[in-house]
Subunit: 125 residues, 2 copies
DNA sequence: TGGTTAGTGAGACTCATTCTCAACTGGGTT
DNA sequence: AACCCAGTTGAGAATGAGTCTCACTAACCA
């Protein structure tokens, strides 16, 4: 399962992981997939991500990184925004929390959807 | 309903909003609450937030801000991290996206839980 | 007053996730 | 090999957030 999450280029949902793992072993149960994913996430071998209006996604990258999310097609990409590390201290100071991690989601429109938008003006639809 | 979201100091879940609104009008239906919340969010009168392992929350604050989340007690607080604005450009450059918004969630332990942890050592529980 | 329309309450439904539990597995013992 | 035990699994029911449907209603208009 770890193998499947890591070999995928994107950010799989639990359902997608279930599909892929089942190709290897058709007898696997949904519950087992969830159990294993949680174990892997707990031990830091994968990262669990949650986004609005979607199900949880699992990321083979375990180093700290952020994400950009296309609000039109839903695609999700990794980005590295080291400057955000400074933000952590600001947040800790403001809140009094002991901040251990942070994650930024940038929302916007991906290049593909932007050019599609451009075409739609010309095509009139 | 807008009134209830705004008058609450925290970040209500849809369920909590439903409870509060129902106190005023016991005949209100869950579906109506969702419909209205989505309308309000769509028109920028409230903000809809989604966090891991929890249901959607609604925030009466509509200006851009970030959140700190206590991983122990689940409390959620607002923080302002203006430095993160720089991050937006970095993310846009890296991804090619037209980034329109961003939101950072800082995870950590709140002062209350930290002192509770300290006590638990002494109390042995 | 009758017709039209948008909004609502009620509750069934969907879907991701979690829970339950009997069956199974593998290791250690006799 | 037969047995025991603990941990894991498959199967599917249960849960819970959120959505959808539809008859009903209030509001507006002729």
């Amino acid at each position: 399962m770890l193998d499947e999450v890591r070999r995928s280029d994107g950010h799989l949902t639990a359902g997608e992981i279930f599909e892929r793992v089942r190709r290897r072993d058709p007898r696997i149960a949904y519950g087992t997939v969830y159990r294993t994913l949680h174990l892997l996430a707990e031990h830091g071998l994968i990262q669990e991500l949650t986004f609005a209006d979607q199900s949880s996604r699992y990321d083979g990258r375990v180093d700290r990184h952020d994400h950009v999310h296309c609000v039109q097609c839903g695609v999700l990409l990794d980005v590295d925004v080291p400057v955000a590390l400074i933000a952590r201290h600001v947040a800790a100071e403001q809140s009094g929390f002991h901040v251990t991690s942070h994650h930024t989601v940038f929302a916007g429109v991906c290049p593909g959807c932007r050019s599609a938008d451009g075409r739609s003006f010309q095509l009139g639809g």
